[in-house]
């Protein structure tokens, strides 16, 4: 590690370093010669299509997919048309753009997912060049045809093809072009000879890079930075012009002294770069052209491809892969030769300390005197994050940890989080995993996306470990991984349904956030309904099972699950679904087996569809229910005939139900209705709809005693009731003579106390007294009291020697009537 700076090359006042990432584990015979290569940014996978131009069916090109370290992920023979361009989407899908404008999409493991076409005209015209690009909207594809027309698709997941306007004077492909994303619009920047044009959805405008010397000749190559903010142009005369992509500002112009067009030209910069540069690649030369005008030259010994990254460039060759980047400022400060920055001193101090030398203290004192210790620690921590080599990382972190000991109020958070993150990064950088992420890239891409990437690569155990190690909340971490894992597992056709279900259940258990219904849906999609049902069994929330079951046409199961869930809304949803799905008979039969659903539906019908309710009852042979149904509907009938007809139906049903009482009662009601109608017509008594008792009462009040008596006989009204009725009716009418006659008509079945009562209530003491004598001895006391005849009551009570009655009289006796009171008390005492 003493030679950290060995690989550094000065460029202006900054340094560039080129460090090896991997020795590629693939074995390519001819390196990358004659191959189409696409490598995804952020250390993504690499696709290599060898000899893409071969068309004969006997020798087809071969497509291989590798991890960034060269581990084979997939390999197959290309059987479709001629591929012009390969590219990766943001979700790790491989896009293959064919000559005929068809775009085929494969997943990481080489299984075909889908395809789309860039348009009818293009199939006819043939594509000559294509680009795959990333925009804020997702992954896009741009093609240019032999007839010099551009077509864009800004998001392949939401395909909208846009054919751009014609470019005047352009024949075939332009000499160079690039995609720009500005103001949420995707444009094409292209050059024809020395002229530069911006092509957007509506027009083609000529633009002029500020400060580009007019004699610099044709523009042969151009490139846009990772962020779409900067533009670089390479001209015939070997000049590299750099500026903003909006063409408002020029940064510099560097003479490369090369006349031929480079094979590839890319931006190499990092966030907060001191000295951004453009990297150009020729057959045997790699040239870094800094804005200051300086250049660095590296010889190239193999065919390579430049992969632009957020903070540098990956140089991918047949045997090695290197990272070329500007050395971060903090690393410069620490490792620069003879640097006196606090971080450098601290590193030195720690080194001396490890050697057990007292100079450690001297260094420390120096830092402390300048009181920059906390800055020193921070520098070491930050620099560690940017190092690739584990030993260097450790040295820096140890130094930081050492410095921290002398600080009392240093917050350990940054230290701890960098340690954790480095551990994760080192794990994914491992050649077996092959994701060469820098710390800057990792921060930009977030851990969630990293986990997604690992999941796409089916590195489930590693993903789980990382989730647990970084303590990511279960819902976003472990559960998400398990969900993907299970969805992938159910598509494995080499295992039996039984085995898959078992394995899934064993792994997933009851992890929160993993829904079995979701997994089951996946299983159903991949054509394994039996497995789907098995998996649904594990779903704890029965409500979740219902929608899928309905989709799978397992209506009975869906209904019983809905009932199980106890969610009546869900039950009702299923019921409505079934109602439309099944024929009526089957529907009713299904309901019959589910009482809860049945009663729910019945309630609904009661309000909404009374006819259906009747059918339901019919289906059940519920005659009693039908009888009740007809009775209820009778009350809705205004006309007598309708009402009687409905009641007749009810009688029939009650008879079928062997409910004699209801049948008879209903028949009597019909009889009563007819009787009321007759009387209403004859006498206008207004009896319709009254109860029997009210009818009789009304009749008595109207003086229609004969008719009342007729009802009394016809309907076998109990004697008592009729006596009560007549008694009250007569008393209310104050028809005392008639009452007297009535009382003598035969022996009263209700006794004579009620006679006394009604008379008193109608304020006729005189009449009341007439009945007093006929009151039975048991009720005499009460009768006397009703009359207010205390003496009489007392006599009767004393005679009967009934304690309770004596008490009752005594209670009512006013204190003034001392004589009576004494008499009563004596009688009570005697007992």
């Amino acid at each position: 590690m003493a030679f950290v700076t060995a690989s550094w090359n000065p460029l202006g006042d900054a340094f560039y370093r080129k460090s090896e990432l991997y020795e590629m584990s693939w074995s390519l015979k001819d390196g990358l010669r004659d191959s189409l290569v696409a490598a995804a940014p952020y250390g993504g996978p690499i696709a290599v299509l060898k000899e893409p131009q071969r068309r004969s069916p006997s020798s087809r090109p071969h497509l291989d997919i590798y991890s960034a370290s060269g581990q084979t992920l997939a390999s197959f023979t290309w059987k479709s048309g001629v591929v012009l361009q390969l590219g990766w989407s943001v979700s790790d899908e491989l896009l293959c753009v064919q000559e005929d404008g068809t775009v085929l999409i494969y997943d990481l493991f080489g299984s075909f997912k889908r395809h789309f076409s860039m348009g009818q005209e293009i199939t006819h015209d043939q594509v000559v060049q294509a680009r795959v690009f990333h925009s804020p909207f997702g992954t896009g594809v741009a093609v240019v045809t032999a007839s010099a027309r551009f077509t864009l698709a800004t998001n392949i997941d939401d395909l909208k093809l846009r054919r751009l306007p014609e470019v005047p004077g352009l024949q075939g492909a332009p000499s160079s072009w690039a995609i720009l994303t500005q103001e949420r619009q995707t444009k094409v920047l292209l050059s024809i000879g020395p002229e530069l044009y911006v092509l957007d959805h509506t027009s083609c405008t000529a633009v002029y890079p500020p400060g580009l010397s007019p004699d610099s000749g044709s523009i042969l190559q151009m490139c846009v930075s990772f962020s779409y903010k900067y533009l670089a142009l390479f001209t015939e005369s070997g000049l590299v012009w750099t500026g903003t992509s909006s063409l408002q500002e020029k940064f510099s112009e560097v003479d490369t002294k090369m006349r031929s067009a480079p094979k590839q030209m890319v931006w190499c910069r990092r966030p907060r770069a001191q000295q951004p540069s453009v990297v150009l690649m020729w057959e045997r030369l790699l040239l870094v052209a800094g804005q200051c005008g300086d250049t660095i030259q590296f010889p190239l010994d193999q065919v390579s491809v430049l992969v632009p990254e957020l903070d540098g460039i990956r140089v991918l060759g047949g045997f090695h892969q290197e990272l070329l980047q500007e050395v971060p400022l903090v690393s410069q400060e620490i490792f620069k030769i003879a640097s006196m920055s606090p971080g450098a001193l601290l590193l030195e101090a720690h080194r001396e300390y490890e050697k057990q030398s007292q100079r450690a203290d001297e260094y420390l004192r120096e830092i402390k005197e300048q009181s920059v210790l906390s800055e020193a620690v921070a520098q070491c921590v930050e620099a560690a994050a940017h190092e690739w080599d584990c030993t260097t990382q450790k040295a820096l972190l140890r130094a930081a940890s050492f410095g921290k000991c002398f600080l009392s109020d240093f917050s350990p958070e940054s230290f701890v989080s960098i340690c954790r993150e480095l551990r994760v990064l080192n794990a994914v950088r491992e050649s077996t995993v092959g994701i060469p992420l820098t710390h800057t890239q990792f921060k930009q891409m977030t851990v969630q996306v990293l986990i997604d990437r690992l999941v796409h690569r089916r590195l489930y155990p590693l993903a789980m470990e990382i989730c647990r190690y970084l303590k990511i909340p279960e819902f976003q971490g472990v559960s998400r991984v398990l969900r993907h894992w299970a969805s992938c597992k159910v598509q494995q056709t080499d295992l039996s349904d039984e085995a898959v279900a078992r394995v899934v259940c064993a792994k997933v258990g009851d992890t929160p956030g993993v829904s079995y219904s979701h997994i089951a849906a996946k299983a159903y999609e991949s054509g394994r309904p039996e497995l789907a049902i098995k998996l649904l069994e594990f779903e704890a929330r029965s409500g979740e099972q219902v929608p899928l079951l309905l989709k799978m046409k397992r209506s009975h199961l869906a209904l019983s699950k809905a009932v199980e869930s106890g969610d009546t809304d869900l039950v009702f949803t299923v019921v409505t679904f079934l109602k439309n799905e099944m024929n009526r008979g089957d529907f009713f039969m299904t309901l019959r087996n589910q009482p809860l659903a049945l009663s729910l539906y019945r309630q609904f019908c009661r309000v909404q569809e009374s006819q259906t309710l009747k059918d339901l009852l019919n289906q059940d042979d519920d005659h009693e229910g039908l009888g009740n149904f007809y009775v209820a509907s009778a009350f809705k009938e205004q006309r007598l005939e309708g009402r009687v007809a409905a009641l007749q139906n009810a009688v029939d049903e009650f008879n079928k139900a062997k409910n004699d009482f209801n049948a008879k009662a209903t028949e009597e009601e019909m009889k009563l209705l007819r009787f009321q109608k007759k009387l209403d017509e004859e006498k206008g008594a207004g009896l319709q709809g009254m109860s029997l008792q009210d009818t009789m009462e009304t009749l008595l009040n109207l003086g229609l005693h004969k008719q009342a008596e007729q009802l009394y006989r016809d309907f076998r009204v109990p004697d008592k009731r009729f006596w009560w009725l007549k008694l009250r009716a007569l008393a209310e009418k104050q028809d005392w003579d008639e009452l007297d006659k009535f009382s003598r008509s035969k022996k009263s079945p209700i006794g004579y106390l009620p006679f006394v009562d009604v008379c008193v209530k109608n304020h006729n003491q005189h009449e009341a007294k007439k009945y007093l004598l006929r009151v039975s001895p048991e009720q005499r006391v009460q009768a006397c009291l009703l009359l207010g005849d205390l003496e009489g009551a007392a006599d009767a009570a004393i005679e009967r020697r009934n304690e309770g009655e004596l008490g009752a009289v005594l209670n009512r006796c006013p204190a003034s009537n001392r004589q009576l009171m004494e008499r009563l008390q004596r009688a009570t005492a005697k007992k």
Partner: protein, 630 residues
Amino acid sequence: MAAAFRRDAPPQPDFSLLKRLARDQLIFLLEQLPGKKDLFIDADLMSPLDRIANVSTLKQHEVDKLYKVEHKAVVSSADQLCFLIRPRIQTVKWICDLVKSDKAVGRVRRYKIIFTPQKFFACEAILEEHGAFGDVSCDQWDFHLLPVDDDIISLELPEFFTDTFLAGDQRWVRTVGSALHLLHSLFGPFSKVYGIGRIAKMVYESFRIQLQTEETRTRGDAQIGNVFIIDRDVDLVTPLCSQVVYEGLVDDIFRIKCGCVEFSPDVTSSEKSVKVMLNSQDKVFNEIRNEHFSNVFGFLSQKARTLQTAYDRRRGMDIKQMKTFVSEELKGLKQEHRLLSLHIGASEAMMKRKTKQDFQEMLRTEHSLLEGFEIRECINFIEEHINRQVSVLESLRLLCLLSLTENGLLPKDLRSLKAQYLQSYGFEHLLTFSSLRTLGLIQEQQTTETLSAVETRVRLTAGRLTEAFSSLAKKSNFRALSRRLNLVPKSEDYDLRVPKDMSYVFSGAYVPLSCRLIEQVLDREGWSGLEEVTRLLNRHEFSVTGSTSGSEGSSGLTSGAGSGLGSTSSPGFGPDSQRRVLVLFLGGCTFSEIAALRFLARERGYRITTVTTAITNSSRLLESLVQNKV
């Protein structure tokens, strides 16, 4: 005795939080429809809403005019209409018609329906069917629980009883489950849940599922330890008895709505009727609410005397003392004076009604029925009651009591009583009787022969199996239960001034079955030793320990006694929480039961909070059945 709780009884949890939650959500929903709007409110939501948000709060959130939903044409001229309704199909249909008629005349308005406490798929289906789904936006106001007093929380769902027990429609089960879940998350975790009844089980199950799926954490310290869930149809006798404690009587006679009563002019002895809030804030009421009626007058007159002395202190005061008296005490005294005169008026009105011969006789009959004594005389009394058309509901009430306590009526008696009832009150009650039979309120006594006949029928129609079973299960075993649980005290003279058990709420004649069950289960911490009782109640009891930690309780219900789950001695359940008990009545409870539970709480040092789907009494219970379908 009125408010004298044992000193070691833990304080009541603060339920006013529930009101705040409901109010905040309502305001949020109202603001979803910005701008002036007219608000239509379901009639039965008026009083509960009043407890949550008053008119000025509504006005603050741009409610312009308030209307009651009356299923008539609308006169509102507002451009935005908001409907605050119960999820009932009829109401939704009415709104559909309104939307249609607006469309017909080319009126453009915005409509919003706020369903409370829950929106049902059936309602939305109606909107869809009538093509109004796109025009109306729907929302849900999770207003589950209304604290009507310090220790009473009502769900204000009177239809729960008929929907659940009569129509077998279990859509409210989930609602109650959610309410329980809310209480759990605010005042839990519950350490023990006991319950009895088929619906109670379902409610608990729904609660448990919600607990599992929604990852809400409770607020650490358990405020309520024990929960008891009971189905109304476990004890139908109690709500059918005439109430004789003051609060119950006020409810029976004047009808308390959401803790508020309207006293008619004959009580207030003035021109107008007066609305009074009846809760623990009313000092006079708070002291007499649980008293047997016979004590109330004595108490009131004593109160009047103390009040007089307080007033009399004015004499002989100097100016300064007078000033403090006027500023500090007089207002309180006046307030108390006003309340006192109201309650005296109310008591007088009750007295007039209740000391009548008829009432006394009726009470005597009721007591005989409960004791199972002189049944023939009781039947005669009921017959006479029917013949004289005293009251539709009262006659029915006595009939039900007779059938329930006697475990069904002899076929002959039943036929004759039913026939007489129909003659007196009209043929439509044929349907009422059918409903009563389904609920098991009026039954035919079943001989062994008929039983087996039912069984064969069960086998024949397998489809209606559960229904047939439930009608079998409806058999009331009141007499045997009464003996086992000693519901009818033996003692002859009962001093109502110094009650010695819960039976005082029924003049010492009967301990409410529901309350006795609660007492026994709390005493025994489970159902052990009550096997015979639960057998008589058709075995739907359960008790679960540590229901709080979702996974622990996941193995579900354990039927039977004492087989709890998890550990009882989990930390966080202090003795205070153990003594706070939540009793949940499914299908309503009466003020008498609440009074009995208050008595129980005082005796044992518990804090009992009653949660009920609605406050009920005999007339409400029977009205809901009589009105049904007719």
